[in-house]
């Protein structure tokens, strides 16, 4: 009976005499130790098992056999004291166990009884719990030291936690906030509506992301980029809300300054092309109460180029300023006047049909006829050419309207200047159009006959002695073998939607060139290719580039693409896709002509580009014009903040280069640093250097 | 017959003092024995009289034997000092031995006392 109980007990039992000799072990122990009973009985326990630091075990046995005292040998202090298997049949995992050493006596002789309990499950549970606690403390440290302000509320929006960053931004301490509704803190009177919206979204288990103005503890306003999201429990009920805030007040201030600069022409104070197009678009698409008929005028100063060339561009700038003042004074406040290019102005006459617009055009022509521009001893008489088109809401898109006004303006010029021309649907004889068609034919034939050539202009590091890079430029070769500069044929290509074909040709030939010369371009950091807006949405082109990279023909890190800011913004979705796709392979991206057409700095946050190429307009005059210089500095600062490198174009001399170096611009490009050369020369040169 | 030696027993426990006194008396009935129950009493004794043997406890309510051992060494350069303490950790023992005292762990046994008084006789 005694033995049956002994062997059927669901824990290990070992009986030891006062010499440490094993008197008996039960079946459980035999099974889990994978030893035979015969190997154990009558052996000293310390000979059978390595019992770690035997001292404690020895003492426990002695105390039991000599005094009758019981001991515990915990699994924490004696992990896996006996080599026992958790699963007797599998022998894969050692059992965690706790031993109790008890004493019992038979006929005056004391024996120690070691009871072994399997605690593997609770050890595992502890370990899990401990890991979780560890994870939790790591997470809570992360929240505590998060660079974003973090507020945690209960399901009713009552604050339970704020992190130190929140206090840093708002000065609200824990005792100011905890227990109070999140939305009651630093509340602005006009926030109610937004808060209602936020609640509605949160209640539907949606996140809310946006910028909101709140008050600090001292009543000062601050702008926060806020992200609030609900935390759901196991039953899919909201248990908490987490609000994260980034203080964007400073960023907003800079970007507001920029958005004024972005919307306005720095020289004349008139709105710029970008902004004008926006207004035009709004007027045409607008389904408001405004009258349906408007007129759009393009105004070109006839003698501008002459004055600019003979008296310098300072005179040209002064002329533009004076003309703007003149126009602005005589335009109605309802009208929108903009400077949309070098010497081009646009005027949107709201609610004016063509007959009224004609009167305005006549008025403007007379105005300019009577105006005299004085520069030093010279006095200039000026004239304007105006193209005008009537536009009807919803019947035309703004791009088409601009094209019409533009071509009408060319027609006015061709017809002898100082006059206006009204665009007509069937006006096929437009001179400008002819002009464009001429180029379009040429471009088509050049593409078909491969009469284009790649040129490369160096991009030089201004701050470090990095490898040189090159921007790829394109030239056309006419029938006589003469090179035609891009300024002549690219605008026409744009008008006739041929630019993406030119892009394709440039990309094809550049990739082929890179492939052919992959051994000769170690000295070049990367090659930069321009992409037009249309190319961005060309899925085939993207696949083509990826294929070339994947085929290992071209090293992706040697490739960079330049997208003009205007093109990127106009095709934002495509641009983002294009950039992220090629970024993944290691290609770099630069935003070209940056600063000229900037509509909002917010776009910059959306475009993960590596470099900003500052518009040459700012660089060329920056030594003389403090506004330009400030602009260059600001773009550089913003670029740095966003982790982007900056490139300056039009670096025409050493003085500009030196100033750019001081400002901290990363790279420079321009005649002062290197003229465009046929692409093959960039290899030959390096050979010469060696 | 050797000359009787003088003994100082320092211990806050009455039991321990009694045990030591009784065990010494059993073998050396003529030895004069002085008892001190605290650190301050012990210092008073060593500064007013010369002893051949001093038994010193470690943990006492107003200080430790270790703290006063250097002063005893100065006041009683010829005395043989035995430390009788329950604090039998190896580091404690080593510390006392570095100061020239002999270490005995409690509980006190007759053998210990015999060795203590005999040691003194030799030195």
């Amino acid at each position: 009976m005694h033995n049956i109980v002994f062997d059927n007990t669901n824990c290990g039992l070992i009986v030891i005499d006062n010499e440490g000799v094993i008197v008996d072990v039960n079946q459980w122990f035999v099974k889990h130790s994978d030893r035979r009973k015969l190997e154990l009985v009558n052996q000293n326990i310390f000979d059978c098992f390595e019992l770690g630091n035997g001292l404690t075990v020895k003492r426990a046995i002695e105390q039991a056999t000599n005094y009758g005292m019981s001991s515990i040998l915990s699994s924490a202090l004696h992990p896996r004291l006996f080599p026992l298997y958790a699963h007797a049949h599998k022998k894969d995992k050692l059992m965690e166990h706790t031993c109790y050493v008890k004493s019992y006596s038979v006929d005056g002789t004391r024996f120690a009884l070691i009871q072994i309990h399997d605690v593997t499950d609770s050890v595992m549970r502890e370990r899990l719990l401990r890991n979780r606690t560890k994870d939790l403390s790591i997470f809570s440290l992360a929240v505590k030291h998060s660079p974003s302000a973090v507020v945690i509320t209960d399901a009713l929006g009552i604050i339970e936690y704020i992190n130190p960053k929140f206090t840093e931004i708002t000065d609200f301490e824990g005792y100011d906030c905890i227990g109070r509704p999140y939305f009651s803190l630093g509340r602005l009177s006009n926030n109610e509506k937004i808060e209602e919206n936020i609640w509605r979204m949160l209640e539907q288990h949606q996140e809310w992301v946006g910028e909101r103005c709140n008050l600090k503890k001292n009543g000062e306003k601050y702008w926060a980029n806020e992200h609030i999201y609900p935390i759901l429990d196991g039953d899919n009920c909201i248990s908490h809300f987490v609000a994260m805030q980034d203080d964007v007040t400073q960023f907003r201030n800079i970007s507001r300054k920029f958005s004024y600069q972005a919307a306005h022409d720095a020289l004349t104070g008139l709105i710029n092309r970008q902004e004008f197009e926006g207004i035009l678009r709004g007027t045409i698409d607008g389904n408001n109460d405004e009258p349906d008929t408007h007129s759009l005028c393009f105004i070109d100063i006839d003698q501008f180029k002459l004055i600019n060339d003979t008296c310098g561009h300072i005179a040209g700038d002064e002329l533009l300023r004076q003309i703007s003042v003149l126009f602005n004074r005589h335009c109605s406040t309802d009208d929108t006047l903009a400077r949309i290019g070098g010497d081009e102005f646009a005027l949107l006459l709201h609610g004016h049909d063509i007959s009224k617009a004609k009167l305005t055009c006549e008025m403007l022509i007379q105005l300019v006829e009577g105006f005299r521009f004085r520069w030093n001893e010279h006095v200039f008489k000026l004239g304007v050419s105006i193209g005008v088109t009537e536009i009807f809401s919803d019947s035309i898109n703004y791009v088409e309207a601009i094209k019409q006004a533009d071509s009408a303006c060319y027609a006015a010029k061709d017809a002898g200047r100082n006059r206006y021309h009204v665009y007509q649907e069937n006006d096929k004889a437009l001179a400008q159009r002819k002009d464009d068609t001429y180029w379009a034919t040429k471009i088509n034939s050049a593409l078909e006959n491969n009469r284009l050539a790649l040129y490369a202009q160096p991009i030089v590091s201004l701050q470090t002695k990095q490898k040189i890079s090159h921007e790829i430029l394109v030239r056309m070769i006419d029938d006589n073998g003469n090179l035609i500069p891009p300024g002549l044929f690219l605008p026409a290509a744009e008008r006739f939607d041929l630019s993406h074909r030119i892009d394709q040709w440039v990309i094809d030939n550049t990739l082929a060139w890179l492939c052919e010369h992959h051994n000769d371009i170690d000295h070049i950091d990367h090659i930069s290719i321009n992409l037009s807006g249309l190319s961005l949405s060309n899925e085939m082109l993207l696949q083509h580039i990826i294929k070339a990279i994947k085929a290992n023909k071209v090293q992706a890190s040697k490739l960079s693409f330049e997208i003009t800011e205007t093109a990127a913004i106009a095709n934002l979705t495509h641009a983002k896709l294009f950039i992220s796709a090629l970024n993944a392979y290691g290609c770099k991206f630069a935003l070209d002509d940056f600063g000229s057409g900037l509509s909002s700095f917010a776009y910059l946050k959306n475009l993960k580009v590596d470099m900003l190429k500052i518009d040459g307009m700012f660089i060329k005059d920056m030594l003389k014009d403090p506004i330009d210089e400030a602009m260059v500095k600001s773009i550089n600062d913003v670029g740095k903040v966003m982790g982007m490198e900056t490139i300056a174009e039009f670096v025409e001399n050493d003085e500009i280069r030196q100033r750019l170096e001081e400002i901290g611009i990363n790279y420079g490009q321009g005649y002062g640093l290197g003229k465009p050369v046929p692409i093959d020369e960039i290899i030959i040169k390096s050979v010469e250097l060696i | 017959m050797a000359e009787p030696k003088s003994v100082l027993v320092v211990d806050d426990s009455r039991l321990t003092r009694m045990m030591i006194v009784k065990m010494i008396k059993t073998h050396h009935s003529d030895w004069p024995i002085t008892e001190a129950t605290s650190v301050s009493e012990a210092l008073e004794c060593v500064n007013s009289q010369t002893f051949d043997f001093i038994s010193l406890d470690h943990n006492m309510p107003d200080g430790t034997g270790y703290e006063i051992l250097p002063q005893i060494n100065i006041a009683q350069p010829a005395a043989h000092i035995g430390i009788f303490t329950a604090n039998i950790q190896a580091v404690v023992k080593q510390r006392f031995e570095e100061l020239g005292a002999t270490f005995y762990g409690k509980p006190i046994s007759e053998a210990m006392i015999l060795q203590f008084t005999a040691d003194g006789g030799q030195s």
């Binding site: 005094y67 605690v119 050890v123 | 039991l15 009694m18 065990m23 309510p61 039998i88």
Partner: protein, 207 residues
């Protein structure tokens, strides 16, 4: 029976026995923590049960962790080793090594605390049994976490009539950590009588 019968002499003797016992415990303990254990002079009080409850409530008003062992032999009683929460955590962690384990004792830590206490109590009482030359069997240790009322649960302890509580206060600390523990012994009156008999027998041997 009141605490009066436990005279100063008995107190002194028992105190010294505890002192020796704790000395032995400290050796085992210092082996575990690999550091010297500092011991204070023990003080022993004999008080009646209700006074003991009040006393303990004053000393440790919050939660305590008490490891209980039952002793049985010539005399018998319940022995306790008390730690407050902070000391328990510090004690276990100085043995198991520091870890980022939160502020509560886990299952494993509870077991470790039991073992450490077991070693101290066994050393302490084993020494008394040794010196008094009597056998003293002990049970395996139990851990009771809670308020003092939970620890001194009369029903659980089955200590009989007019129990007397012997409280031995002795703190042991590690150089850098303040860990204090307190040993208490609760005995029924007849058991105390037997203990006194043992002490008398022992004292007559030497005094």
């Amino acid at each position: 029976m009141t605490s009066d019968i436990f005279t100063e002499d008995y107190c002194d003797t028992l105190c010294e026995l505890f002192n020796i016992g704790m000395g032995r415990a400290a050796v085992s303990f210092s082996e575990m923590v690999n550091d010297e254990v500092l011991l204070t002079v023990p003080s022993l009080k004999a008080v009646d049960f209700n006074t003991a409850m009040e006393l303990f409530q004053c000393i440790s008003p919050g939660n305590v962790n008490a490891v209980e062992q039952y002793f049985e032999g010539r005399f018998s009683g319940n022995a306790f080793l008390f730690f407050n929460d902070e000391s328990s955590l510090q004690l276990v962690r100085s043995i198991l090594g520091e870890g980022n384990w939160g502020s509560e004792l886990g299952e494993l830590e509870q077991e470790a605390l039991k073992e450490v206490s077991n070693i101290i109590l066994n050393a302490c009482f084993g020494c008394i049994a040794d010196v008094l030359d009597c056998e003293l069997e002990s049970s395996v240790p139990d851990l009771i976490c809670g308020e003092i009322n939970d620890v001194f649960d009369v029903e659980r302890m089955r200590i009989g009539e007019n129990p007397l509580v012997l409280t031995l206060s002795m703190s042991f600390s590690l150089p850098n950590k303040k860990i204090t523990g307190q040993v208490s012994l609760i005995m029924a009156s007849d058991s105390i009588k037997r203990l006194i008999t043992e002490l008398e027998r022992f004292m007559t041997l030497y005094v």
